[in-house]
């Protein structure tokens, strides 16, 4: 089967599965966040936490809860990692304090950048009690913030956005846990391990020693993909045969990554009472994602060094097509799991994941984060279109005024500021330069990829970079935290300001936001904003490498 045909069939296969799942899941998520009643287990949670589930919060209160939860998460995870020697199943594993801090921030922000290696940094207790838990709740936080923004668009003359604790609990209990449990069982049946064994040594048939690792991998693998987290149980992440044993588990992992990001647009359509809005969102993210898959696969199949070198850093059971597809999916969402080593990709093939991140993680983006990042771009697009035709910009009957556009503009500026300043700082510091595994343009790509990955809460890496050193650990921890929570606060501010408005009636002069023309406008906005911001640095990295 030719590469082109295999790619096309692969994309169609994944698209067909998502086409079947997005409506029921999207409708289910809509019900979850509009339901008046609480499940029994949820009432227990609310009682223990001490919140009244019927009390809704203003945007400031909602943002305060998100931040408080983040701070508590970082603090507790940091202490858990440092204190893992006191816990059972620690396997004698440990991390230095700066690595531990980086890891705590990384998993709390849904980034899952890993400057430690799973086999030496984290025992089974930390993996379950710390990392698996943050895989759930960081994803739930992303969904909660997206839902708050949807309420802002849907509500009229309201100063309330919902209750963060309720949204967090429901996202975890009603969406993530049930799907993850089913997926974990499927992965287990597919060969992903699930045990509490310590690494043990065996003698092979041919008389050589080998260490066999253990761990509760299946339970973590499921939520790692479903929550678009991406942090590998093992250093090799989803390339490790114990995390991703074969072609079927690989397909399942890809579907899990895309499941919620492609269903949330449907939820969006239902929340605002206009399903066409959700269709536009799917059109935009689908176009960008398929474009990047096509480009990455083409680059790997026709890399300058030929298909021979393309197998460097790839697994035989996946091959070029399912590696490039995974790479595009994992960076198009903010997942960052890898089933092949992006650092060994051809210049263009490795440039695609980088560009996917620099687009701002909205094609389709992480769970929740992708949808709110997309809506921020929609606000920008509406504003630009409004300027062009000389009318007041409106989205779903809401005026895009000063508060709305400043919030959206600041969200759009946060990530590039972090990426460009962080990369710029690193290329003049010898300690960062020494961390590169490759010289020249590819070395610049390694550094830029790391900072972009952190600032976008992606977590994948050009893994040749020796990132486990105090400077990079702390720089990237800062980028991850700011890259996550500055946009979240601004998005909630935007949501609060939208909720306070009434809804203007549709007139002949209203610009429709559900047409193919508008879809094109949004795609254009995404590409122009990222292109203008990052073209100069991309020219020095992957583009220079491709041309040399």
């Amino acid at each position: 089967m030719s590469i082109a045909l295999q790619t096309a069939t692969a994309v169609l296969l994944v698209a067909a599965i998502l086409a079947a799942t997005h409506v029921p899941l999207g409708a289910w998520m809509h019900r979850v966040f509009t339901d008046e009643r609480d499940w029994r287990v949820e009432r227990v949670v609310y009682r223990l936490v001490g919140v009244d589930p019927r009390t809704e919060q203003r945007w400031q209160g909602y943002a305060g809860s998100v931040l408080a939860f983040a701070v508590a998460s970082v603090a507790l995870l940091f202490l858990l990692i440092l204190g893992q020697g006191l816990l059972p199943w620690d396997l004698g594993r440990s991390m230095h304090w700066d690595t531990a801090l980086n890891t705590a921030v990384s998993f709390t922000t849904n980034t899952n950048w890993q400057s430690y290696s799973g086999e030496s940094g984290a025992g089974h207790a930390v993996q379950m009690l710390g990392l698996t838990v943050q895989n759930f709740v960081s994803a739930a936080t992303g969904i909660a913030v997206a839902v708050a923004l949807l309420r802002g668009l849907a509500r009229r003359h309201s100063d309330r956005l919902g209750n963060f604790w309720v949204d967090l609990t429901r996202a975890t209990v009603r969406i993530l846990l049930p799907i993850a449990a089913v997926a974990a069982v499927l992965l287990l049946l597919g060969g992903v391990i699930q045990n509490l064994a310590s690494p043990h040594s065996i003698e092979t048939l041919t008389g050589v020693q080998q260490t066999i690792q253990g761990g509760p991998v299946a339970s973590q693998e499921a939520i790692k993909e479903l929550g678009t987290n991406g942090g590998g149980f093992f250093n090799a992440n989803s390339a490790h045969p114990f995390e991703n044993p074969g072609p079927w588990t690989n397909l399942l992992e890809i579907v899990l990554i895309l499941l919620i990001p492609f269903a949330l647009p449907y939820t969006y359509g239902l929340m605002v009472g206009d399903r066409r809005q959700g269709a536009v969102a799917v059109g935009v993210i689908g176009t960008l994602l398929i474009g990047s898959i096509a480009l990455a696969t083409w680059a790997e199949a026709h890399a300058a060094a030929g298909p021979l070198a393309s197998m460097e850093g790839k697994e035989q059971r996946f091959g070029i097509v399912w590696s490039s597809l995974f790479a595009s999916v994992t960076t198009g969402t903010s997942t960052g799991a890898v089933n092949s080593m992006h650092d060994s990709y051809s210049a263009l093939g490795g440039g695609v994941p980088l560009v996917n991140m620099l687009l701002g993680e909205l094609s389709p983006g992480g769970v929740g984060t992708g949808l709110y990042s997309y809506l921020v771009v929609v606000v920008l697009a509406v504003f630009i279109a409004g300027l062009m035709v000389g009318r007041t910009p409106e989205l779903l009957g809401k005026t895009v005024g000063r508060t709305e556009i400043t919030s959206a503009a600041l969200v759009t500026l946060t990530m590039p500021a972090l990426v460009l300043l962080g990369t710029g700082l690193s290329v003049v510091l010898p300690t960062a330069l020494d961390a590169r595994a490759n010289d020249g343009p590819h070395g610049l790509s390694e550094l830029m990829y790391a900072v972009a990955s952190a600032s976008n809460n992606n977590g994948s890496a050009f893994a040749g970079l020796s990132a486990d050193q105090p400077y990079l650990n702390l720089l990237l921890a800062f980028c991850m935290f700011a890259g996550r929570f500055v946009p979240i606060v601004l998005v909630l501010r935007l949501a609060g300001s939208l909720a306070a408005q009434g809804r203007r009636p549709v007139t002949a002069g209203t610009m429709p936001t559900h047409t193919p023309l508008f879809t094109t406008l949004v795609v254009g906005t995404v590409i122009v904003v990222a292109g203008l911001t990052f073209f100069p640095s991309l020219a020095l990295g992957p583009i220079a490498e491709a041309l040399s």
Partner: protein
């Protein structure tokens, strides 16, 4: 803010019980029903564990089929790839060295060496090789064991796993450990 922080801590602890204890424990319980899968499909020969069907193994003598090159020598203590970029001269050097070593060890093998024989895998523990690479090694293995090349080639052919869904999912592959186990049985028979 203190009220928020205390609510946050309590919420985190409750959710830790749910997602960090009960959930993995439930999946561990399911694992007890499929102990072989849960443990990573250990392979036993003569009552002794000789590896996992999922993991590639370190290289050994000429009489065994070899897996793909590994950045960690398939030790199993760690995992990962070489992370060498295509423009890195170290990669060209590594490929050239592997080519030289393979030619020296396989004087009777065909001229063209398959790509997966020359490149290191992503995990460093790739359990598979391409059918082409397995066939490529057949003359060496046959010579070292005093077997017929056609006999060894037949064994390889029996162990080719097709890519599921008519070739759409992944690539054709041969599991090296399973092939070697069958090879050992062949030698005894």
């Amino acid at each position: 803010m203190t009220r928020q922080l205390s609510a946050a801590l309590k919420a985190l602890l409750v959710l830790t019980v749910l997602c960090g204890v009960l959930y993995p424990a439930a999946i561990l319980a399911v694992g007890l029903l499929v102990p072989d899968r849960a443990a990573g499909q250990p392979v036993e020969v003569g009552g002794r564990e000789v590896g996992s069907a999922l993991l590639g193994q370190p290289p050994s003598g000429a009489e065994w089929f070899q897996g793909r090159p590994s950045a960690s020598d398939a030790s199993g203590e760690t995992s990962g790839g070489s992370n060498l970029g295509p423009s890195n001269p170290d990669l060209a050097t590594a490929v050239a060295e592997r080519e030289q070593a393979l030619r020296a060890a396989n004087p009777d093998a065909p001229q063209e060496i398959p790509a997966d024989a020359l490149t290191s895998s992503a995990s460093g523990l790739d359990p598979d090789v391409s059918p082409a690479y397995a066939r490529w090694q057949a003359p060496r293995v046959a010579a070292a064991r005093g077997l017929d090349v056609s006999q060894v080639l037949r064994l390889v052919a029996d162990h080719v796993r097709p890519a599921p869904l008519g070739g759409v999912l992944g690539q054709e592959r041969v599991n090296v450990l399973e092939l070697n186990v069958a090879l050992a049985a062949l030698g005894r028979g």
